[in-house]
Amino acid sequence: MSLLRAAESCISKQRSYKALNAFINLSDKHAVLRQAEHADTDTIAARPLHGRLIGIKDNICTSDLPTTSASGILKNFTSPYDATVVKILRHAGAIVAGKTNMDEFGMGSHSVHSYFGPVAFARDQKNEASQEQLSAGGSSGGSAVAVATGQCWAALGTDTGGSVRLPAAYTGIVGFKPSYGLVSRWGVIAYANSLDTVGVLAQDATIAQEIFDEINEYDDKDPTSLPKSTRARISETSVQRSDRVSALRIGVPLEYNIHELQPDIRRAWSHLLRRLRENGHSIQPVSLPTTKQALSAYYVLAPAEASSNLAKYDGVRYGSRASGPDGADGVLFSKTRGEGFGDEVKRRILLGAYTLSAGAIDNYFIQAQKVRRLVQEDFDRTFSLPNPLKENEVSSQCQNSGVDVLLSPSAPTRPPLLKSLEDQSPLDAYMNDVFTVPASLAGLPAVSVPIKVVDHIAPFGFQIIGQYGDDSLVLQVAQLLESL
C-alpha cells in the first residue's frame, strides 16, 4: 500500500471513529495528504517513519497545533516551540496526525478526566453504542485508541505510572515505556518530572522499536537526559549479551499474584509461562518485597511533584484566565485555577500540597522516597545485569542466579465498561496501576504486549520489565512473545 493510501485510510477512520474521542485536535487533512503524497515520490527516503502518520499525546508540545494537556486552563494554548521528540519525528519524515485525548495533565487511569470529554474504546464499530463502550485506559487513552482503530500508524504517549502500558493493554496494542532519561522530556508538559517518560504506542513491537530508535537520543535541553558516555556503555553491554534471547531466564514476581487479579488473567499468565518453558526458556519465581508499598509511594510522590509543577498555571503569561482581579476573593489566582482545573487535578494538587507541608513531609514525602529506593534495590537484586547507573557499587548478586526480564500481566483486570466507572471511587482507579508503578519508580524499561493465549478468549496485555538500559532486550522479548 502506498503511503498516500495508508494516510487516506487513517483519515477515513478518524471520521468513522470520531465518537471514541481519541483526538483533541487533528492536523489539516489536506496538508497531511500532501505530505504523504510527497513521501511516496521521495525515492531517497528509506527510513521506516517516512510518510507515516503519528499521533501525539496532547501534553507534548507542537507549534502548529494547540497543546492543551486536556485541561481547561490550556484549552486555547499553542506552544511557541516543538518538543524535541516531535522535532525528531518530523525530521525522520513522520507526519503529525493530530493531538490525542488524555486524562488532564496525565492524571487518571481511564482517560475520562478530560476537558474535551472522555475517550471511549470499542473493539469494532458495531460495539460503539455507549452501553458497550469500554475504558481505553489512561492516561494515554487517546493515543492507544487512535492506534488500535487505525486512525494513525503509531502514537507517542507519556508514562508516569503506567499511562502508556495500561491503555495499550486495554486496547490490545503494544505500549512501550523506555528507561527514564533515554528520551528527551523537553517540551513534554510535566506531571511528575522524576517519573514522566515519553513512550510509544504501536500495533506491534517492531514498529515500537523503529520509533524508539529514532527518539532515543541525548538532548542537552533536558537536564535529566542520560549523558552520551553512559549510553555508550549501555549499548556495549547489550551487544555483549545479545545471545540471551534464545534461552531467556524469565522471572515471575510472586508479589504480583494478588487477590484482585482476575482468574482468567491468572490462568492466561500460567499458560503463557508454560509455553515459554516449552520453547526452551527457564522460568524463575522471584520476590520483590516492596511491591506492596510501591503503589502508595507512587501516589504520594507523583501528586507532590504535580502540585509543584502545576503552580505555574496562573493565567498571567498564557492560558485561560478568570475574569476580574487576580486576588479578588483574597487568595491570589484561586479563581483562575479553580475554573481552569478539573476535579482529579485539584484532588492531586491538594494531596501533593499536603504531603509536602511542613507537618506531613516526614511521614509522607520522605517515607515515600525511601520506599522508592527500596523498590529500586528489589529490582537490582533480581536482574542478572547490574544497574549501569551504579556500576561501581560492588554488585552483590550472583550473575547466574539473576533473571533477564520479569513477566507479569500489565493490569489486574480487563478494561471495565465506561459506565461502571461512574460508581467508582478515585482509589479504585488508582488500583489499576499496581503492576505498572514499580517499574516507573525504578525508571526501568517496560512494555505491554497483547497476547492471545487461548483462541476463544480476547488477547490481553502482558508486561515485560528489564534492567535499566536493557530496553533493546525488553523489545526483543516482546517480539518473541508476539511470535509464540
Binding site: L74, D314, Y318, R321, P325, D326, L332, S357, K390
Partner: protein
C-alpha cells in the same frame, strides 16, 4: 499584569523597541474603563521584592535622596523624636536587656547569564527582551543550570571564609505571586553550596563601642537562588511585568545571631557589601537595589533568669522569641529598624506581654516597625528537591558513576584553589596596606574613605598616580621619597579633587583629571617648584577643561615659584611691623606668640601668587621682631 497568550509570544520576540512593551489588551481594557491612557514613557514606579511575597515592597530611592528625606522628616518631627533611640531612659533599659540580631542578605550576582537559562542578565534594558522559555515557565520547558554563575558565588563564599560544599542541590520554595512565573523559587534549602564562614568587624568599621576593638560574626550558610520579575505599577490597579530580571542569580548570605547592637548590624551589612564588591561578586550595592537585608531581632534579660525557656538557632541557645523585619534597603534602615524593634520588644515584655513570632516591615524615616503578618499568616513553603535538577558536585570526579544524579557538574578542586589565589585584596587588607608607614602612610580615616569611594575606582586611580610618581621620580635617590609622594598624592586624589567634584556635582566617572596631571602637581609641590596655593589653582584650571599640560600652565601663568631674596623678605617684614604697632605690642608685651602667624599670613598675601614660603617668612619676622 496579565496578558493573553498572543501578547506574551509577541513580547518574547521583541528585539529592539524604543518603548517598554505594553500588551494591547491591557491598553484597550484601561481605555474602555475610562481610565487615563497609559503614558509609556512616563517614569514608572519600580518595585523591588527580592524573594518575598505578600509584602508591599518598598520603593527604591537613591541613597543620597533617602538621607535627605530622612533629615527632613526628623526636622519636621522635632528634636525629641530624633533622639528617641539614644535617650537616657532607653539607656537605662538597655542595661537589663540584651539584643540579638541575625541577618539575611540577598545580593544579585555579577554574571552574564541567568541561573537556569542562557538568557542574558541585564538592567535597564527594554522590558521582556532577555527572556528564555523557562524564565517565564512555559509548559514543557526545563531548567538548564548555568555553571558559570557559580564563579562569582564561589568568590563571595571564599571571601567570607566559608567551607565550599562538595555537593549542593536545588530546592523549590513554593508561593504564588505574579512576579514568580513557576509558582516557586528555586533555591538551596536542604544543601547550600557554602557553610560555616565568618566576618570580622573592627572599631573603624563603625561597630558599637560596646563591641570593643573587633567582633567576629559567624556566617551560617550561603545559598544560590533565583530573583523575581520586576513589577511596574500603574496606579490604581495595573501592574506591568518585566521578566528581564526573573531568574537573575542571587546569593543569600545568612549570618548567625552573633550581633548585639544596631550599629554593628549596619556595619556588618556595609562590610559584606564592600567585600562582595571587592571580589567582583556583585555589580551594585544597596543604593541601586542590588543588595537587600532581612533582619531577625530578639531580646532577652541580661540576668538570664528566663534562660531555660529560651529558643535556639543554629547552636545559639537561650534566645528570646524573634521577629523578622523584611526588605531593608539601606544601612541606615538596618540600624534604625533594629533599634526600633528592640525598643518595641522591651516595652512589650516589660509591660508583661509576649512577643509574637511575626514578620514586620519598616518604612524609611519612620520610628516604628509595623506588623505585616503573624504566625497564622506564615507561608508553608513546602520545600521540595527540584526533580529536574541533579546535585551540583564541586570537586574531583573519580569515575563516571552516578545513580539518579542526572546532572553532574565537574569542577576540579583546583578551580577553588585557583579562585582563592586570584581573589583580590579584601577591604581590610587594603586598609592595612594603605596605612602601612613604609608604603603609603595615610591615615586610617583617609584609607577607609579611599577604599569605599566610587566602587573602588578612586582607589584604583590613586594607585595609578602612585605608580606614575614612582616610575618617573623615585630614582632621585632620596630614601623616603616614595612614601612621601604616596602620602601627598592621597591628599590630592581624595581631598583636593574630591572638593572640586563636590562643588561641581560631577560623578567620579565623568571627572576630567587624568593620572599624569595629579602626579605632575604632586611632584611640582614636593620639589617646591610651585606652592600649594598655586597647585590648587592649576588643578582647578585643569578641572575647568584646560587642555594644556601642568608644566605649561605653570610656565604660561607665571606660577613658578621664584624664591624671593632675603632682602625682599626683610623689606616686607619691616613694612608690616611698622604698619601694625598694636600687634607688635601684643606679641612683645603680652607674649602672644601665636600672633606671629597672623604676620606670616599677611606676608603671604602681600607676596602674591603664592611666592612667599611660610617657613622663610616666619624666620624673617622673628628676626625683625627680635624674638627667638
Amino acid at each position: 499584569m496579565g496578558h493573553p497568550r498572543n501578547s506574551i509570544n509577541s513580547r518574547l520576540r521583541i528585539t529592539s523597541a524604543q518603548l517598554p512593551y505594553i500588551c494591547r489588551g491591557c491598553m484597550r481594557r484601561l481605555q474602555l474603563h475610562g481610565g487615563q491612557p497609559l503614558r509609556v514613557n512616563a517614569q514608572p514606579r519600580t518595585i523591588r521584592a527580592l524573594h518575598i511575597t505578600s509584602i508591599t515592597p518598598e520603593q527604591i530611592i537613591p541613597f543620597r535622596k533617602q538621607v535627605k528625606d530622612e533629615a527632613k522628616e526628623r526636622k519636621s518631627k522635632g528634636k525629641l523624636n530624633a533622639n528617641r533611640f539614644n535617650g537616657k531612659a532607653s539607656d537605662d533599659r538597655l542595661k537589663n536587656w540584651e539584643l540579638t540580631v541575625g541577618i539575611e542578605i540577598h545580593a544579585e550576582l555579577n554574571t552574564g547569564r541567568k541561573l537556569f537559562s542562557s538568557a542574558a542578565t541585564s538592567s535597564g534594558d527594554v522590558p521582556n527582551t532577555h527572556v528564555a522559555l523557562f524564565d517565564v515557565a512555559f509548559p514543557g520547558s526545563q531548567p538548564q543550570f548555568q555553571k558559570e554563575t557559580l564563579i562569582p558565588a564561589l568568590r563571595a563564599a571564599l571571601a567570607l571564609q566559608c567551607d565550599i560544599q562538595r555537593k549542593s542541590s536545588f530546592d523549590r520554595k513554593h508561593y504564588f505571586y505574579q512576579d514568580q512565573p513557576n509558582g516557586y523559587q528555586i533555591t538551596q534549602y536542604y544543601e547550600p553550596f557554602a557553610k560555616g564562614g565568618r566576618i570580622t568587624l573592627y572599631d573603624h568599621d563603625g561597630i558599637a563601642p560596646e563591641d570593643g576593638k573587633s567582633v567576629t560574626i559567624g556566617i551560617k550558610q550561603i545559598q544560590m537562588e533565583q530573583d523575581t520579575a520586576k513589577t511596574i505599577q500603574y496606579p490604581p490597579s495595573t501592574h506591568l511585568l518585566d521578566f528581564n530580571r526573573v531568574s537573575h542569580p542571587l546569593i543569600e548570605i545568612i549570618t548567625l545571631p552573633h550581633i548585639h547592637h544596631p550599629s554593628t548590624a549596619a556595619a556588618c551589612v556595609r562590610k559584606i557589601q564592600q567585600i562582595l564588591k571587592s571580589v567582583n561578586a556583585v555589580v551594585t550595592g544597596m543604593e541601586l537595589g542590588g543588595l537587600r537585608a532581612d533582619v531577625n531581632v530578639s531580646v532577652r534579660r541580661k540576668d538570664k533568669s528566663d534562660a531555660n525557656s529560651g529558643r535556639s538557632y543554629a547552636g545559639v541557645t537561650g534566645l528570646g522569641q524573634r521577629t523578622e523585619i523584611k526588605n531593608l534597603s539601606s544601612f541606615k534602615a538596618v540600624e534604625d529598624a533594629i533599634s526600633a524593634e528592640r525598643d518595641r520588644q522591651i516595652s512589650v515584655l516589660e509591660a508583661g506581654g509576649v512577643i509574637e513570632g511575626e514578620t514586620r516591615g519598616w518604612s524609611l524615616g519612620s520610628t516604628e516597625t509595623r506588623r505585616l503578618r503573624g504566625k497564622e499568616g506564615e507561608i508553608d513553603y513546602r520545600y521540595m528537591p527540584d526533580p529536574d535538577l541533579g546535585p551540583v558536585i564541586i570537586g574531583e570526579v573519580r569515575s563516571f558513576n552516578w545513580f539518579l544524579d542526572f546532572y553532574l557538574l565537574i569542577l576540579l578542586q583546583t578551580l577553588i584553589e585557583h579562585l582563592h589565589k586570584r581573589l583580590p585584596l579584601l577591604p581590610d587588607d587594603l586598609v592595612n596596606l594603605l596605612t602601612d608607614p613604609k608604603k603609603y602612610n595615610i591615615s586610617l580615616k583617609d584609607a577607609k574613605t579611599l577604599v569605599a569611594l566610587d566602587d573602588g575606582e578612586r582607589l584604583e586611580f590613586y594607585f595609578e598616580v602612585c605608580n606614575e610618581l614612582n616610575l618617573n621620580f623615585s630614582k632621585e635617590g632620596e630614601e623616603n621619597i616614595s612614601v612621601r609622594l604616596n602620602k601627598a598624592a592621597c591628599n590630592w586624589v581624595l581631598h583636593e579633587l574630591g572638593g572640586l567634584l563636590t562643588t561641581s556635582g560631577l560623578p567620579w566617572d565623568e571627572q576630567p583629571i587624568d593620572i599624569k596631571t595629579i602626579a605632575s602637581i604632586v611632584w611640582n609641590v614636593d620639589q617646591k617648584r610651585i606652592t600649594g596655593t598655586a597647585a590648587k589653582q592649576v588643578l582647578a584650571t585643569k578641572f575647568e577643561g584646560d587642555k594644556r599640560a601642568v608644566d605649561q600652565i605653570v610656565e604660561e601663568e607665571d606660577l613658578l615659584l621664584r624664591p624671593l631674596s632675603d632682602e625682599q623678605y626683610l623689606i616686607m617684614a619691616e613694612e608690616l611691623v611698622t604698619e601694625n604697632p598694636a600687634m607688635v605690642k601684643a606679641i612683645k608685651d603680652k607674649g602672644q606668640k601665636g600672633k606671629i602667624m597672623w604676620f606670616v599670613g599677611q606676608m603671604m598675601r602681600k607676596g602674591g601668587d603664592g611666592r612667599v614660603e611660610a617657613g622663610r617668612a616666619e624666620q624673617m619676622l622673628k628676626k625683625v621682631l627680635d624674638i627667638p
